[in-house]
Symmetry: D2
Subunit: 323 residues, 4 copies
């Protein structure tokens, strides 16, 4: 079905993928969720992305996904647009997820290429076209080859944009060369797509190159810096943009300090640990089968936070919850 | 919870992953399903695996998965053990699938490593241990790196076997070297695991090397040959085993003839096309976003079937359903 | 042996990897080589890199490599620093290459991680340390995972820089996140390394983020634009930097138009075709086993050149050499 | 040039890739080389492959390669056919290697697909055809995707075989499914190719499936077992073939015990350590940048040797050379 009438330029600026706080028993910590969301909105973020990869979407049962949306919408209360991930393996399951979340007053859907079963370009394109048949919400293609092992073809993305199938791209492919071409070809096509970069460490280059915004997980930790960076970019103050980026890149080094595990447990694990040590989350608990970071990993992350001025120099490590 | 008391040696021999027949409208074709299942059981297969990768598990909504199980159990009616795939992205979702399918009188569960989110060995091991906490059914680890991008560590598999967490492995990794080591170490450990090979083209080598059986998709096309091969292997008639394998390897070449697409659409697409041309299925319809094979791809598959004596030399291509 | 005394800041700005012109018989076209090198130096490039990946290094016999160096040095005549690739499979072979090329008055060596044999981080680090034992020239580590299937660890690079083993990095890894961290950690360490980006499409972001320069293959086609971009970056005129980058990114689209082959034959094949159509090269001949582009591939490349103003609108395709 | 007249069936049976013994100073240990080669020939191997991957080919300078050939030919003295690897990056370099080694009375050449530069199927096929233009020796295609990151297309291999370009394949791809198809299609084509398996752990399955022989690195350690296995296979005694394979698979576990490094250093490092501990080599020295195994890695390898009866139960670890 055709997309309902909406102003796509709303989907620009800083749209953090929201990290989920848990209690020790791995249930959703609604209080911490409110604190963290309010903090990001108060800092001036221009949207929030729930149920993304760092929002634990693949770790949640369908029931738990709906709980996250319900609570999130109650907290956000219309202050910023809400994008929701409908991540699942193949088309009919993704459409099922789309139907479920579309009962709620959300602003856009975010879907990856199909995964698990091997396919080719025909299947990828038909996948997005089939999703469009079942929703009138704005639809973002989520380019995440590290998880789905398919890089979305930029020619296909432009074609889907022109045809009204998708309205934007969240690019977490790490392929900044192709992203640059996508920006240029999107301009040539009349800008049908809102192009958002998912790489928090190099947002400055993405904005300089013409991105419409970013989806930085690290903005959960320092939303003010990303918002200030976005404003500096709009003002053309690239020296300022890059100086802020240097701070953020150093802050992101927390994810490189983790020794206990790799991947999600190290990346989102570090973010949760930072938010816990900053007093925003009450624990750094993770979903099964991932375990919360402990000991030296926590200490290394606190050192990064101190160095970047995110916690007081003399902050003590809070081991109040028994992880 | 500990596994309930059962004789694991039942899970040996030839256990085809069942290919699903669809009507033109992509709904389950129950009549063709019955024909195909009966044909395999009559041929002497020793078990059936539903909701595996070639059983379209990731293409089905949760509701559709249950429909497949219900209909399948009704048809099988206890004649052979039924294994069921509980494929989903991360632990809690897999456990959710386990709970749903365990309402039915099935004989074993089959689960892959977690996928989509990046993890490491700790997460993989904890994943299977967590699943065991929630089921008392025999549990098979499904080693399928081509889909989940993790190769299961053989040391971990033996450890999980000894601890009663898993009771078998369906190896579709294509790593026959590691599979051989797994066979030897499984013997040393007292054979806690039933080891099944998923590579239909080289079942002879797997059986010679000590595999407990196979899970060949191609057995949907020619179940008699795999059953005869299994019996020849038990009798030590390796010349016969290999001669049958040569026939099956040539039959499998049908999957290499497809030009329209790659991966699932070519492989399972060829199988469905063969079953349709052999008069067992009524269509070669596929689940979205995959399209049914047509034209020259169909003709090439029929040529392979003819050459291997699976259809009469003068069989006409049946284009009765409009794919 | 320790590096001889030299000013490393010379290795900054725009250092094109030089594309090699061939005659129809695949011998070096010395006249065209002179025209192209002079054109780049006259445009203001700050160095030239010979025998890099796009400089055909792995396609040349050892004898042919020395011919390229001899002719190149004769043409350059000291006008800019000359960097030379010593690409070979493992350490002792690379050292052999280093010895051979060090007979000539060159300014720096460029070496990748070892490849073909599988190794780990210990081997990579020892590799560079062993090369240092046999040369007193500045040594650049060439990070090219697409060819050598190893990503150089940034912690190792900083360590090798501090220890005087390497003096710079040519980063063609496409991993701009890690490159950004490398820039920051290089600053913290006192800037032991000259950090050069090899991605011609996003040089603007690399310079904004603190790169010391770039090694853009596309600068063979449009050296003036890269030089102007470098000067604009030094002047802090980021609007100008990016506008030039947009032109260059569009020019680079020529490599995406090729349909006859992939990889080197498409990328360097497109560059040679452009230089031929611009009248700088006399052919677009390639080294065995790669074939020169023909027909529609040539026409598509000319269209890109026209659109970006690199050839007159009414230029005729020159098919004077029979490729 | 066309291949000179020769009986290709000579290239069958057990053809070990010869491991190179070094002195502590990393020079070739000619005495140990003679002991090891004589031991393999006396055991009944049917050929020897020098300068393969495990024969250190990519670690040797061109001069060192010729030294290996000269010494090897002097020791072999015509007792078995000698195959020689001409491994290098791209076609003209490989042809250069072919010319160099063809000065010696060797029996066949072994070449991989081109590597380092990215290419496609056209380049791969033209590569082998170009090599044929420059040699009249039998030529084996070496399928080693783990090193060259290209899997050789079986259709191309059959085509090259029919055209007299290549005379055999050494398959180290680990893709036993495609190898089986290759065997069948080679039969259909009149057996133009000698098909050798490089996977020492599953030679039984390869022989059962129709391989013409194997190229097992492990045959340096236990040549008698592989020769006995080959004879049992020819006699159709598959029970015996597999029992021997079980022993060899357990012996190969030595490569899994290494903790100091990965890849070549672990695999060939383990082989050298075994040969040293068995008294055949005088050291377990490795080529730069790889380091010899020490300490617990050596002890673990000796345990495997003891368990498989390759060293006396009470053998002491010989630490006479200071590695």
């Amino acid at each position: 079905m055709p997309m309902h009438d909406t102003d796509l330029s709303r989907f620009s600026g800083v749209i953090p993928p929201v990290i989920i706080p848990l209690k020790g028993d791995r249930s959703l910590d609604r209080d911490a969720f409110r604190v963290s969301i309010d903090r990001m909105i108060d800092a001036g973020v221009t949207g929030l992305f729930f149920l993304g990869s760092s929002g634990e979407v693949v770790f949640l049962t369908d029931e738990q996904r709906l709980e996250v949306i319900e609570v999130a919408l109650d907290i956000v209360a219309g202050r910023v647009p809400v994008l929701v991930g409908i991540i699942d393996m193949e088309t009919m399951r993704v459409i099922d997820q789309a139907k479920r979340v579309s009962r709620y007053p959300i602003d856009a859907l975010v879907a990856t290429a199909p995964f698990y079963a091997l396919g080719g370009p025909h299947e990828n394109e038909r996948h997005f076209r089939q999703i469009r048949e079942h929703t009138d919400l704005p639809l973002f293609a989520y380019d995440l080859p590290v998880s789905v092992h398919t890089k979305l073809d930029p020619n296909m993305l432009i074609r889907l944009g022109k045809d009204g199938v998708i309205q934007g791209v969240k690019d977490s492919s790490g392929d900044d060369v192709t992203f640059r071409w996508l920006v240029l070809e999107n301009e040539d096509a009349g800008h049908p797509l809102q192009l958002l970069s998912g790489h928090e460490v190099v947002v400055d280059g993405a904005l300089l190159g013409g991105a419409d915004g970013s989806v930085p997980g690290l903005a959960n930790i320092d939303p003010h810096a990303y918002v200030e960076q976005w404003n500096a970019a709009k003002a053309g103050d690239w020296g300022r943009v890059t100086k802020i980026q240097d701070h953020l890149a150093r802050l992101m080094m927390m994810t490189r300090k983790v020794t206990a595990t790799v991947g999600f447990g190290a990346g989102v694990g570090a973010f949760k640990t930072a938010l816990w040590q900053m007093g925003i989350f009450n624990t750094n608990q993770m979903r099964e089968p991932v375990q919360a970071l402990t000991g030296d990993d926590v200490r290394s992350i606190v050192q990064v936070l101190r160095k970047q001025g995110m916690v007081p120099k003399d902050s003590l490590i809070n081991f109040d919850w028994d992880c």
